[in-house]
Symmetry: C2
């Protein structure tokens, strides 16, 4: 079914190929999506088309935090109610939202828009670490909190950034590792428990 034998109309073929560029979408899902949109939701298809066009043309990166923004400096970075001495480094805007949802952080953010992944060829240049360095050394930032994921790649990124930022005389911290709130020890995996033991306080 990869190469359909019946001549498919060109616009359908192009749509399926374009949908395949979405992360996690293979030939079969792309086909299902295309059929669905064309058969049951042409209004949704047009809306998606317009949203894509509009997003690509109107969004850029905030010059301060690197997250998506319509304006040069985003609302969060421009806020006077935030502590300019704290800079929290996250991988994605979704992670930034998660930190914000704790209601426990009043500092500013820097969004890497990715993480170091040597196996995929994503190095410090691709992530423009020099921009983070410039941002963190504005003279106001006192502490950089590394909130990259606790995956192999997130950890690698955190280690790399620690060296980079410490050498600039900045205080660098990392989110605490440990037992998740509300969980029973019996169901916590061994490496989490090992970390929780090591970092007991």
């Amino acid at each position: 079914m990869n190469e359909p034998l019946l001549a498919e109309p060109e616009p359908l073929k192009n749509l399926i190929q374009a949908l395949r560029r979405l992360p996690g979408v293979g030939e079969r899902s792309a086909r299902r999506m295309a059929y669905h949109l064309l058969q049951h939701d042409p209004v949704g298809a047009e809306q998606l088309g317009r949203s894509l066009e509009h997003a690509v043309t109107s969004l850029r990166h905030c010059v301060r935090c690197n997250s998506f923004s319509e304006i040069e400096v985003c609302a969060t970075c421009a806020s006077a109610r935030r502590d300019p001495g704290l800079l929290c480094v996250v991988e994605t805007p979704a992670d930034q939202n998660m930190i914000e949802a704790t209601h426990g952080y009043q500092g500013l953010y820097y969004v890497l828009m990715g993480r170091l992944a040597p196996l995929e060829g994503i190095g410090p240049e691709a992530l423009q670490f020099e921009r983070l360095l410039q941002r963190a050394t504005d003279g106001k930032v006192q502490e950089v909190i590394l909130a990259t994921n606790f995956t192999a790649e997130g950890e690698t990124t955190a280690h790399y950034l620690t060296e980079l930022l410490v050498s600039e005389g900045l205080k660098v911290t990392r989110l605490a590792r440990g037992v998740p709130a509300g969980s029973e020890l019996e169901y916590v995996d061994a490496s989490t428990l090992a970390w929780a033991l090591m970092e007991r306080r």
Copy 2:
């Protein structure tokens, strides 16, 4: 994370909402797709936008087989090398491709673009069964092969269509049920085996 606390730029918010209309895509995947397109594949995003627009405006349904087509009668239906006495009814264009891939069918097709699903409110009217009836009673069709899926809904559709078409004096057949080619009996599920026994020949 459903309702992000940070003010998201409007075009990003709209894009995420539009992506959620794709089948099987929830808030989290939509967000991941939006970030991916904007950060790593703006060319792909523009291409997808254009493809959507082009597909919606240029595709219609072939008046003969009901599949997607740019022209009034699609290439398959217009082909002189196909047997006009055989009409194979399938649920989707993808199913049509699967039948075609057998290289064992030389007749024509009718694509339902769905199946009866009373629980979802999809009845005979929604699927425009009167169009199939009209197509099947063109005087040339001798046999209608029902190739809907062997799911509860596909079976319901086949039963309904059998009654409808037999009452018009048409010969109606159904794809054979049985043990899949190349499989060992030990690993075939009981109901498939039961069908294979009943329909032994």
